[in-house]
Symmetry: none
Subunit: 111 residues, 2 copies
Amino acid sequence: MPYKEREINKLYYTMGEVTEMFDVNASQIRFYEREFDILQPKKNKKGNRLFTQEDISNLKIIFNLVKEKGYTLQGAREFLRTNKNEAKENQRVVDSLERLKSFLLEVRDSL
Amino acid sequence: MPYKEREINKLYYTMGEVTEMFDVNASQIRFYEREFDILQPKKNKKGNRLFTQEDISNLKIIFNLVKEKGYTLQGAREFLRTNKNEAKENQRVVDSLERLKSFLLEVRDSL
DNA sequence: AAAAAGCATGCCATATAAAGAGCGCGAAAT
DNA sequence: ATTTCGCGCTCTTTATATGGCATGCTTTTT
């Protein structure tokens, strides 16, 4: 009989659990769900939300950005969006700078 | 048209210059002055504001945080309190790159 | 069965934040 | 002397963010 961490690795959290966890009310969670694409909890046949660990994690990030860091919802959205593509963006910047460098060398040589 | 990092910097900027520089209206600048301790432009005998280079620099940082990054004023205040030096340095780099960019654009157009 | 609890959607109300607008005044410039 | 600019002040407006309610449907409890 293998050891299972059922409590810790819960599959799904209910709306009530989530509101208690973050000490907010349900309408705010639903509101955030509308505001942030990354929040997409599953729903059961009845329609009740089933928040995954991933959803909880995303909510933590969002609440941190908004409540601790002082981002607007808009700002938090953009932050999340650009952090997702962080690697891509870095590469893009590097490429851009490389092109810039060779251009500068050309300019210098033409003077 | 040589590229110069350093520009001849004015000692003081008037309210009109500042509002045009940031494309905002005066009440917002005055508002920010109340909201951010860091903003303390001098005033002449008449009471008109004399914005120093330092004030401009601080305004740039604030506008970047609020308009680009999506911070609330409250969030920007806290950010500045703990990251003022880093923010300054970042802004310095950004300014430098933007001057470089416009220089490059001029070069391109002159070809 | 009846009552209560939990959650759904949808709409409206509220609070605060952020920005803009109007005004009368005065100094300086044209 | 008229215009321009900016002052402080106050009032409004707009946007953001959150809360709350009405109603209805299941599930759980009494």
